[in-house]
């Protein structure tokens, strides 16, 4: 491979990686947009989703070592997998909101965020106790097609990741901008009390927001599993922190911003790894986070500002 080919390949890698972060950042940034809560538990819900997916698949008789599926059987399994997993993670999100966060909704300060850290720890360690510390193989359902693109190579999985990420971004923007639920969400985000007086069931809107956000985390978790072919109890922390950084970089609360931020972080990670070495990845990414926080706290596309009112 020539140097140029390597760089091109790194761009492809970075874009796919960035889309993975974007997928996770979407649900997170949406929840933030409505209730202005940094929900650490979001990324643990994502991690839990990969294990839920594993269990769902094994209930359908699909394991990492079973024969690969094709045609209608594959489509059927995938549809069932996504529906069930997203429903379960969505309900998990609702459960977290009802049990842990609702009573704290009007508490100012850092209490709600500390609670989400607690929830994250509970989920991480529950998965660790149930499934053990070892990496778990995730069945490779998607075919291993690959194409040449200049000197680089694009896989079918990368393409799927990219298309799905963009579609979800568009769909989510549509839900928030155009639908009744979206209007109710934006009204709640602006002023929950006023929204309530206008006849909006604020509780229901927030529950739906959590359901939607967590279901998105569930979808993200399945793409993670299908793309990387493994899962582990710790993926919510590392991958989650990067996704978080993406959301902040893009402008927290902004749906297109999450995707833009994700792609930027993905490219930074792959090109930074190529040029400086992967051992500095965390330093590079967190330095970006800190610099953004200092000089442009509202992010690339953010309307909201994380500064004090």
């Amino acid at each position: 491979m020539s140097t140029l080919d390597v760089l091109l390949q790194q761009v492809v890698n970075g874009l796919a990686l960035g889309m993975m972060y974007a997928l996770l950042a979407l649900g997170f940034t949406m929840v933030y947009g409505i209730i202005e809560l940094i929900n650490f538990a979001h990324f643990s819900v994502f991690m839990t989703g990969t294990f839920v997916g594993l269990v769902v698949l094994s209930l359908m008789g699909v394991t990492a070592t079973s024969k690969s599926l094709t045609g209608l059987a594959l489509v059927g399994v995938l549809i069932a997998l996504f529906l069930v997993t997203m429903a379960i993670t969505g309900l998990l999100g609702v459960l977290i909101e009802r049990v842990c966060l609702r009573s704290l909704r009007n508490v100012s300060g850092t209490a709600p965020m500390i609670t989400t850290i607690g929830v994250a720890f509970i989920l991480i360690n529950a998965m660790l106790l149930i499934f053990g510390p070892q990496a778990q193989r995730f069945p490779q359902l998607l075919p291993n097609w690959r194409w040449e693109l200049g000197g680089a190579e694009v896989t079918f999985k990368q393409l799927v990741l990219f298309v799905v990420g963009l579609l979800l971004m568009i769909a989510l923007s549509h839900v928030v901008r155009r639908t009744t639920l979206g209007k109710a969400m934006r009204a709640t985000a602006q002023d929950a009390d006023a929204a309530r007086m206008m006849g909006i069931d604020v509780d229901r809107v927030i529950v739906l927001t959590f359901f939607l956000g967590s279901a998105l985390a569930g979808a993200g978790s399945l793409f993670f599993g299908l793309y990387y072919g493994f899962t582990g109890y710790y993926i919510g922390y590392t991958t989650g922190l990067r996704a978080f950084t993406s959301a902040v970089l893009g402008g927290i609360g902004s749906i297109p911003g999450a995707v833009l931020g994700g792609l930027f972080i993905g490219l930074t990670q792959s090109l930074g790894g190529q040029l400086l070495g992967v051992k500095w990845t965390d330093v590079i990414i967190f330095s970006i986070l800190i610099v953004v926080m200092v000089f442009r706290p509202s992010g690339l596309l953010g309307a909201r500002t994380p500064q004090k009112a």
Partner: protein, 673 residues
């Protein structure tokens, strides 16, 4: 069970204990607790337990340090382990053979001081061997950490709490990675080895746990002492004011940038002590020892014990550290033994320690939902009212004298302009809240600002007190431009205010609220607060005396409630406390934003007396008020705003009849008619 405990408490004289003053209780408790601490190694037969206790003291130090940042100042730091690491590596590098710089004469003073020595290397130039002494390094590590604390804190100052947490988390991630990859400095993943143990008068601490135990106990005692001193000082009050309400703190003269950085620095310094102690005891340091779970564990300790509660944090840290290193392990032994006894395979294999992080998570969630103040919250000095205090008839104060009261208004020179506002403009998006306002307030005057809702009255106050910066125009106070200056600076010049929606520091007592008002008049810094030299003691006494004087203004309304937390006060008393707090800053100009809102007629009358009395102290007053009878009664002059424009100004009677004022209040007449 609780009845039993209550009766037990009664037998032991708990009520009498509670009645003792805090200072007296401390005088008794400190030696008792210290002796228990000193006796522990002789009571337990196991050196392993002593070692575990010494490790636990490290965690106590960390928890006390984080408590300054999170508990006192309310800044959620999720990367606190970074300071633990920096402290540990600071001493580790200085007391091991990690760095081997070439010898040059620059090292000679340190060689003379016995901190480094020359080492001959066959065939090469001489190198320097580091063996810095533990005791000065304890202080140096703390200072290095304080500097890093400020460096890490600086980017977060403008950020809201949750974002601040994320940035600190980022630093917490970066530090171990740097420690892992900067092999020349830290020996990378292999970690530092052979770090020298402390020596004291020729006695080497070595590897026995006992000397470390006593050293740890001493460090904890010092950290507790520092924490208490800081909490009960001007600094502690400033931190807690920022924690409770940053905006109001600024309006009382607290420079939040300065005090936040100070909190980061102090918290980091205590963490650095912990790191230095830990690594001297362990003699090795690797990057794995300082990762995110450590930060979370320390946070769990602070949350469990109670944010800001020194005693709670110490106990929680001891408990959780022992839970990790001793209790769960021994409990596992029992469970295994039980499993062997009953032949249960599962019980024989279960490892309770694996569920500790799960327990941490549960603690965080449960505490936040059900008991945010922690298991053993900070002392609430609520002393019951004596019968005498209860039976005192409500009386109006107002007739009292303030020792710092300025000369009678006439003496200031009538007509001298105090506040001059010229062509002031401010707009928010499309709304113009101040449109070309020009206004002069003379010393000794009492001016009222009235106008319909949304006419820009509060915006005017916010502009004068520096909460928002003007788009255009000037605000001069005593001839000095103050427009756009930070609010703490403006307070220091002598402009104080109250807020329309009352912004007290809810978890502070009435007295503490008042003392925050005195902030700008006090001098004590970190060392002053910790060591409390006579001049600091004297200024604190003066501050309390001054607060008691101010309380007198309100008769016996606040006096019996001085020790009560502000959140428990009645509405009128909250207003009074807020006004008192503003008076405490010794303002030349006092801005009152709807002080009579929500008061009944009797209370309103009392308030008017009070305002007159304040004026009598030589304080110029500007008042926003909706109750027109109040305004007409006490004002020298009335200014009317509508849609950010000054539409009228003059004596009360004159303004009352003004056509445009009536129009603004009652709506415009139909012009078409």
């Amino acid at each position: 069970m609780s009845a039993l405990a209550a009766r037990l408490g009664e037998r032991l004289g708990l009520a009498r204990w509670r009645a003792l003053p805090i200072a007296r209780r401390r005088q008794i408790l400190a030696p008792v607790l210290l002796s228990i601490g000193l006796a522990f190694p002789f009571v337990t037969s196991n050196a392993g337990n002593v070692d575990a206790a010494a490790n636990a003291y490290t965690y106590v130090l960390l928890a006390l340090g984080l408590n300054i940042v999170v508990g006192f100042a309310g800044l959620l730091d999720l990367g606190y382990a970074a300071f633990f690491a920096i402290g540990a590596y600071g001493y580790g590098i200085a007391a091991s053979g990690q760095l081997k710089p070439e010898w040059s004469s620059l090292w000679a003073p340190l060689e003379w001081a016995g901190q480094v020595s020359r080492l001959a290397v066959p065939g090469q130039s001489e190198i320097v061997q580091f063996h810095f002494s533990f005791w000065p390094m304890l202080a140096i590590s703390a200072i290095i950490c304080a500097i890093f604390g400020m460096l890490f804190g600086a980017p977060t100052l403008r950020l809201r709490g949750d974002y601040l947490a994320i940035v600190t988390l980022g630093f917490g991630e970066i530090v171990p990675v740097v420690a892992r990859n900067w092999e020349g400095l830290t020996n990378g993943a292999q970690g530092l080895g052979g770090i020298r143990t402390p020596k004291l008068f020729g006695f080497d601490f070595g590897f026995s746990p006992y000397p470390y135990y006593f050293l740890g106990l001493g460090l904890v005692a010092v950290a507790v002492w520092i924490s208490i001193r800081l909490q009960e000082s001007r600094l502690g009050r400033a931190w807690m004011a920022i924690r409770e309400d940053e905006l109001a703190a600024g309006a009382m003269g607290v420079n939040h940038v300065h005090y936040k950085l100070l909190a980061f620095a102090m918290g980091a310094a205590v963490g650095g002590l912990g790191g230095t102690f830990y690594v001297a005891k362990l003699t090795t340091a690797t990057p794995d020892m300082f990762t995110f779970p450590v930060s979370v564990m320390v946070l769990v300790m602070v949350v469990l014990g109670g944010l800001g509660s020194i005693r709670g944090v110490v106990l929680a840290a001891l408990f959780l550290a022992f839970l990790q290193s001793v209790i769960l392990q021994e409990l596992t032994e029992y469970v295994h033994a039980l499993g062997r006894l009953v032949g249960n395979d599962f019980l024989q294999r279960v490892e309770l320690i694996t569920s500790l992080e799960l327990i941490f998570g549960l603690i965080l969630v449960v505490m936040m939902i059900f008991r945010r103040e922690g298991l053993w919250p900070a002392v609430r000095r609520v002393s019951a009212l004596t019968l005498e205090q209860q039976s005192v008839a409500p009386a109006r104060g107002a007739a009292v004298e303030l020792s710092w009261a300025r000369a009678a208004p006439g003496a200031v020179g009538p007509g001298r302009p105090l506040l001059e506002i010229e062509s002031l403009r401010k707009s928010f998006g499309g709304v113009t809240a101040a449109d070309d306002i020009t206004l002069t307030v003379h010393a000794g005057e009492l001016v009222s600002v009235i106008g319909p809702n949304g006419s820009g009255k509060t915006t005017l106050f916010n502009l004068i007190t520096g909460l928002i910066a003007p788009d255009d125009g000037s605000i001069r106070f005593e001839g000095v431009e103050i427009g756009g200056r930070p609010s703490h600076e403006i307070v220091a010049r002598g402009v104080a205010r109250t807020f329309q929606n009352i912004r007290l520091f809810n978890n502070l007592s009435v007295l503490e609220n008042l003392l925050v008002g005195e902030h700008t008049r006090l001098q004590a810094g970190v060392l002053g607060a910790i060591f409390r030299p006579p001049w600091v003691r004297a200024e604190e006494e003066r501050a309390v005396k001054s607060a008691l004087e101010v309380v007198e203004i309100f008769g016996n309304r606040l006096r019996p409630r001085l020790d009560h937390p502000a959140y428990g006060l009645s509405y009128a008393n909250r207003r009074r406390t807020e006004i008192g707090r503003a008076i405490m800053t010794r303002p030349k100009l006092l801005l009152l934003d709807e002080p009579a809102a929500g008061m009944n007629p009797a209370e309103t009358l009392e308030l008017m007396d009070l305002i007159r009395a304040v004026r009598g102290f030589g304080v110029t007053v500007v008042l926003i008020e909706h109750k027109l009878d109040v305004v007409m009664d006490i004002s020298d002059r009335v200014v009317v705003l509508d849609h950010g424009v000054k539409i009228a100004e003059g004596a009360p009677a004159q303004v009352r009849g003004d056509e445009r004022v009536i129009e603004a209040y009652l709506g415009r007449r139909r012009r078409a008619a």
